[in-house]
Symmetry: C2
Subunit: 936 residues, 2 copies
């Protein structure tokens, strides 16, 4: 298989200086092993960690011993990475001859698994340690010492005028790549990915019938598996990462290319996305502040709120609760009316339109940025590789096959071979899924409802209290506690739903990891979105709409009146609810979940291992990189990070009409969030396996869906929650002089106090002589023929509200279409470059073609075969050394290449590798990688 293709490779000058006594650790496997002489409980405390470092290496003869010893001396300075086929060497496993039965089994599994890894071409080194170092936490302090002044100008990668062509890597095609050094051909991230892929795919049939490291970790055979933070790469990149991961750099652009180089494309894209989002929040915040400022500036000239505060108008309102409450004057609600105007003014309508267009603009901008990034990172040409099925999927498929075979023997009937799971196999999973999701929807709704009941009952009870101090604070106390309860419920359910979503997705047995992730995200998003927004939707669209009217209130549990909105309108309540949930969620999740809990965990681990650490210290060993990294928390995927931001995006887009300061709060949060995440990734988490990704995947669809949804939500908030439409209708249809004077009077209906149901009238009233009280609704007065029915004004305002929704929605949708149409998805320069690059790639191949024919030609044109031979030799060398440059076919082709000016030389860079293992254990490896080939 490798015949022929290896030849040119070994003729490269890089075979020398292969081994200088140190090796690079690409991946670490950790397992626990009970000590025999332990006196403490064998369950958890008395374990010794046996590190197993898996080294991927090149095709030179296995030699170890002293090298290993030397390599263990001083960290992992790296540089000896080798390319292409890799093989394995099992270190000394000894020292644990006598162990307990469970342990023995584990050991057998490990032995088989590691043997299979070896077969797959990995090198394995064993680092027997007695204890775990607690120095992990000190790593960040070490790094903080590298606190050099931040360089905003990140050193550019050598892309200058040379453009690398990309192509899939394959061992058979080695001569095509510009391999200057085996050490640097695959970079650190790629090596980690290769090893991870092997670990994930290596089977373990004899001892435990599973596939891949993840199952073994789940079974407890291994404790952890992770690649190492790369201290040597740190000198180049992470110094900048240090700058990047500092709060003080909050105002600077992120060094995305370096982030991508160190953490891989997927994480790079996350930070790029976060950066774009945060950046675009700046204009939104500014406009939001202006809109809010407009509200502040006009609050003293706003006629409706002036009328509400005007005591001379003397509107006597119907009591807010049955019996215990008295009639009250509208002017006492002056404060909320003024506050309401801050958020409920004509500028808000403009802001809602603005923010809908902003969301479209953001998505379009991100689309362009994403394509730019994937072009700069050499991902444009590469196809998505065929993904391997998840180990769990294969395990279940295997089980199904075995079951079928048994049945077959019984029935003696030939059937089609089973090569995939059908919906029948997944039916139970789907069933549990749907019922669980429905159950959790129910849970969310009942949580919301419980809080409503809490509010209703507590208000009623407190109103009945004889203490006037309690009575006066009813609304504030109840609202405050209710919102806090809401927040706590949201936070708790959020955590629960996250875990339930994972469990449910596992039940669905998705085929590939991408598949798994997409399903998980969709489910988690659905649940968390419902959870976070259900109380807000309630306040925005339902609160107060089912309260009934004086004399005919709606009661829950036969006793308690349904709650109404505050006299200032529902919008101010929505605004309060929104700001508390948004701020609370962000602050608590940022502080407690993202900083506090990891710190606590670390502390717990440190305390647990204190004894052993001290022992180690006594032994005077310097901490190994793998010890430091093991002390860090495991990386658990980007889903929670994205989820947090997407939910925030909802606050910024969905209800922005009621809370123009949302973008500002989001901006403030995100400025911190970027650096917090950066810090976490660099210092708090084990290094994640670099994953290749061209885009942010399903998150984009979710964002775009929310953008669309936000249009209709904002339309409804403006027309139904705010008083914008009633004011307009009054001004243009009912106002006697075209001004807003008399608006408050117009919105209040009359109620004849003699119509109170028995027992619901105020028990004791300061207003004895009153015959009519007022309430906020459009209903016929008591003296009308159809008293208390909805009045003509009600239907008129309703029609106006609905017309506004139609107008707003279609206008914004049309504008969004125009914006999306005006901004092209792919930047023009990238379109051009892609075209040029494609041409170049073909020309590279054709040039080689041409040389071949010239070679043959020259052979037959010479009479003297010896002469021909020497000529041939020269030419052959010219071809065989891909590192050398040759000229382009010239003429028109060159013109095409040089067209944009400034690509005088083109180089070919491979962009994916396949078949790099000598023998692939289950199916051929197909992953993408960059390598180089001087072509022109």
């Amino acid at each position: 298989m490798l015949v022929g293709s290896n030849k040119p490779y070994s003729s490269l000058p890089l075979v020398s200086s292969m081994f200088n006594g140190r090796r690079k650790v690409d991946y670490v496997l950790v397992f626990h092993q009970r000590r025999h002489n332990s006196l403490r409980s064998p369950a958890s405390t008395s374990v010794s960690h046996d590190r197993l470092s898996v080294v991927s290496n090149g095709n030179f003869p296995p030699s170890a011993g002293s090298d290993l010893a030397a390599g263990r001396g001083g960290g992992m300075p790296g540089g000896e990475a080798c390319v292409g086929e890799v093989f394995m060497e099992l270190g000394y496993a000894g020292g644990n001859e006598s162990m307990e039965p469970g342990d023995h089994e584990m050991r057998l599994i490990r032995q088989e698994f590691e043997a299979n890894l070896q077969e797959a071409g990995l090198e394995i080194e064993r680092d027997k340690e007695v204890s775990e170092s607690g120095f992990g936490s000190s790593m960040s302090t070490v790094w903080r010492k590298l606190n050099q002044p931040f360089q905003p100008k990140v050193p550019r990668q050598d892309q200058g005028r040379t453009k690398f062509l990309s192509h899939s890597f394959s061992r058979e095609k080695l001569h095509l790549y510009n391999i200057t050094s085996k050490e640097t051909f695959f970079d650190n991230t790629t090596r980690g990915r290769i090893v991870y892929e092997i670990l994930r795919r290596t089977v373990c049939v004899r001892t435990c019938q599973t596939i891949g490291i993840s199952t073994l970790i789940a079974k407890g055979v291994y404790d952890a598996a992770f690649p190492l933070h790369d201290v040597s790469a740190l000198s180049a990149a992470v110094l900048n990462l240090q700058g990047w991961a500092r709060y003080s750099a909050f105002y600077k652009y992120q060094p995305i290319d370096l982030v991508r180089k160190y953490f891989g494309e997927k994480i790079g894209l996350y930070f790029a996305w976060l950066g774009v989002y945060t950046q675009l929040l700046i204009p939104a915040s500014i406009v939001g502040i202006i809109v809010f400022g407009y509200g502040v500036a006009t609050v003293d000239t706003n006629i409706p709120s002036l009328e509400m505060c005007d005591e001379s108008l003397n509107f006597t309102m119907c009591p807010l609760c049955d019996g215990a409450c008295d009639f009250w004057h509208l002017s006492t609600a002056c404060g909320t009316a003024r506050a309401s105007h801050l958020f409920d003014n004509p500028a808000t309508v403009f802001f809602a339109i603005f923010m809908s267009l902003w969301a479209v603009l953001f998505l379009e901008h991100w689309k362009r940025r994403q394509i730019s990034l994937s072009f700069n990172w050499g991902l444009t040409g590469t196809e998505d590789d065929e993904e391997h099925p998840r180990p769990k999927y294969e395990t279940i498929l295997l089980q199904k096959r075995q079951k079928k075979q048994k049945n077959k023997k019984k029935k003696k009937k030939s059937e089609a071979p089973i090569d995939k799971l059908t919906w029948k196999d997944r039916l139970p999973g789907y069933f549990i899924n749907i019922s669980s999701i429905l159950f959790m929807f129910g849970l969310t709704f009942s949580a919301v409802f419980s809080v409503i009941i809490y509010r209703i009952t507590i208000s009623a009870l407190m109103a009945m209290s004889p203490d006037p101090a309690i009575k006066s604070n009813v609304r504030v106390t109840v609202s405050a506690t209710a919102v806090i309860i809401n927040l706590v419920v949201i936070l708790i359910l959020d955590e629960i739903y996250g875990n339930v979503a994972v469990w449910l997705t596992e039940l669905e047995i998705p085929k590939t990891d991408t598949n798994f992730e997409e399903r998980l995200i969709l489910k988690a998003f659905l649940l968390k979105f419902m959870n976070a927004y259900a109380p807000i939707f309630y306040v925005a669209f339902f609160k107060g709409r089912f309260a009934g009217r004086p004399g005919n209130y709606t009661y829950v549990f036969n006793n308690y009146r349904m709650e109404e909105c505050a006299p200032g309108g529902c919008l101010i309540e929505l605004c309060i609810q929104l700001s508390i949930i948004m701020l609370g969620k962000q602050l608590i999740q940022n502080n407690i979940f993202e900083i506090g809990i990891p710190k606590l965990k670390k502390l717990a681990r440190a305390i647990k291992n204190k004894g052993s650490t001290e022992k180690e210290k006594e032994e005077g060993k310097p901490p190994q990189q793998w010890n430091l990294d093991y002390a860090l928390a495991a990386f658990e995927g980007l889903t929670p990070e994205y989820m947090e931001m997407i939910i925030q995006f909802g606050f910024v887009s969905l209800f922005v009409a009621s809370f123009p300061l949302a973008p500002l709060f989001a901006l403030l949060n995100n400025v911190i969030e970027i650096r917090l995440d950066a810090k976490k990734f660099v210092t708090e988490l084990r290094r994640p396996v670099a994953i290749r990704a061209k885009d942010i995947g399903i998150w984009y669809n979710i964002l775009s869906g929310m953008g669309k949804f936000s249009v209709i939500i904002n339309a409804f908030v403006i027309s139904f929650t705010s008083d914008f439409i009633p004011r307009l209708v009054y001004q243009y249809m009912y106002s006697p002089n075209g001004t807003m004077h008399g608006f408050i009077d117009h919105t209040l209906s009359y109620f004849n106090v003699s119509n109170f149901k028995p027992g619901t009238a105020p028990h004791s009233s300061a207003h004895k002589d009153i015959s009519f009280c007022r309430y906020k609704d459009y209903r016929e007065p008591p003296w009308s023929t159809d008293a208390y029915q909805f009045s003509k004004q009600y239907w008129c305002v309703l029609a106006a509200r609905l017309a506004f929704v139609i107008l707003f929605q279609n206008l914004v949708m049309f504008l969004s279409l125009v914006v999306a149409w005006v901004i092209p998805d792919v930047p023009k320069n990238i379109v051009e470059q892609l075209k040029r690059e494609k041409k170049l790639l073909v020309d590279v191949f054709l040039q080689e073609e041409k040389e071949k024919f010239q070679l043959i030609q020259s052979l037959f044109s010479k009479d003297n075969p010896l002469q021909a031979g020497s000529h041939l030799l020269q030419q052959a060398q010219g071809i065989a050394a891909p590192g050398r440059s040759s000229t382009l076919p010239s003429g028109q082709t060159q013109a095409l290449v040089g067209d944009g000016g400034g690509v005088p030389r083109a180089r070919c860079r491979a962009a994916s590798f396949s078949q790099f293992t000598r023998k692939s254990p289950s199916s051929p490896m197909n992953e993408n990688e960059n390598s180089r080939h001087t072509a022109v």
Copy 2:
């Protein structure tokens, strides 16, 4: 430039049998030349046509004479097409020594242009003819004789198990292609395209300073330029085209692959699109018929129409015109009420939702079909080539440069070179554009308004007529004449707008042809859409809404009352308007514009040339193919064909809620349309130049935009034009017993006849004792405090209508999103095949690489250089003959290739050509072409 690459090519065995005495005519140029001895007016009648057939040929020495003579004997059997570089040979030009000054100039231009064509590599043959044959029309009869029984199973192309890889054709890369025969390497369509491209790009600097044949035709230097219908290809393909172009084949699938082969991808896509559209109209028609059937079935049990027909209810309606008209009984409008129910019933709402989803489904389905087709036609891999600017653009650019240079000399100031036209150059064009479009919008609106005025005035005048016969037929007469006037105006403006759009687009100076086409289509669509739909929109949403109420009517010109809808409601009027315009437009455009006018033109030509034809007949010459083709009409692009269908799609989607039979009428029309168009393309038009296209371009966007627009329009039609919502509101809010009984009474308001303005009450009335008349509106009765104001019901119904619009729009949009999301854009099997193909292409190149290294290896491994030479020779032959097969690299690669099963051998097919001319006159040629290369 060609060194080296030609060698392997000439070693192919296909150089023999190159010339067997006949040549293939790829393109025909026609010019007029006045006869010197003519006595008639020199302007138009007395012209002789000099045919100039341009033959593109291979790189063998030019030899003509006898061959040409032989070739002229029996049509153009073709088969001697040659590939790669082409050169030209100028035939005898003699015989026209003495001509008039204008002619002389023309001749000089022709000489230069043809010399440049020769330089570009074309062969030119001159066919001096005295007259034109009138036999063109007899061609169709000749073809009809080939009327073999239709074979529904079109012979498959040899794609069976062999998949061709596609790649751009380039003369430098000849060895890569599977050139089995120079004759068939480029097919007929491609040859036409190549020659057209050269013709289009050849400059003519010395004599006339223009670029390309189109300018020369415009200047009158040439009369026409077209490729020939290919009688020899007809035997293979057009026999089937004959089957395709017959009306009797209306129920059969179209042989799209053959259509594409003969007419090129663009026309192939048009017919494929038309086929998909027609096919999907079948289910829509069936559902439409069912919905209509539901209306017919329920008309006798429908309570509102029964109530309207019930004479015992005795509603006395207010008069329909001032003075002359009397009060009338509602039961006299029974007929329209019943007819109205046929189209205005609950099933219509379902049908509107169904058709909105149908539109989405149609677009998704077409997307998939388009991708399948472009995959099958080998277009997926090919990029859109850089298009050359239009000659007109370059001419204007040249003028600008020259002007600038003059200015430069004056100012002596260095400026940036001009390489494109800026918006400043186009400003006058844009200005004229906008003002013209606005003017034409105004024209359309005033046409609509004129018809309204016509209706109002004629009705009023006829109502005043003393003749009772005239009086009774007022409505029918006026409506019928008005709709016909509308239709005529639409048809006339349609033709005018088509031409104006072309003129306006030329003013914009678009850079490329694609650009030109897109702008033209957008403009023409906008104008024609407005034109066709303005009267329909008026009836649907405006008619009757500004009529006022009894006692307070709206008047135009102070005299005439604004028109109201018929008593049965506006929907029935909309329905009539829609069906007449739709049917009338289709029938008249199909019959007159597409069949009648071309026939008349042909007849006119035949009569004009009668004399010369007879002369020719006397000479006994058989008609040449170019004579026959010249007699046909010129091909004028697909835009009118598409436009007709898109406007029809509007009738099917936009107002489908009011006319469920629209899909049926569209289906009936299209079944004929397909065959009509087919017939036209095959027998009535000169062969169009084959144009490559991957998709239907901007038409898709227009379709998709109309689909979106149709949702909101249908929502409004249902809620505002139909009585669906008022009925619902009555049933659930006002009906005393929950049935529809009393609905008619509820919709009619009261009017006190004493409130008529002076002179507007009926002059003579049969109803003397009446005090109240009724009118259809929701207004307060005269005895109310605010008499004749909109009642509460009005606002309630309005709110319900608006709520329905919101509900309908969002529901349908959501369902559309779901449908679009469920149906993947690219069929799964094509995704897989594309991946496999991409891998194969890379492997092909790598295999060649490998062979090269093996070659070198074998050379140096042998001690004896002579032996090495012979071995090398063998290997070299193996490489140099691309027609031979070699095995795959084996192993894993094979596994990947054979993965889908059944691709045992892969062949490479080139998919675009570049640099095929020896010397490109202005810029390198870049066009796509298919050719073959045996790779594996």
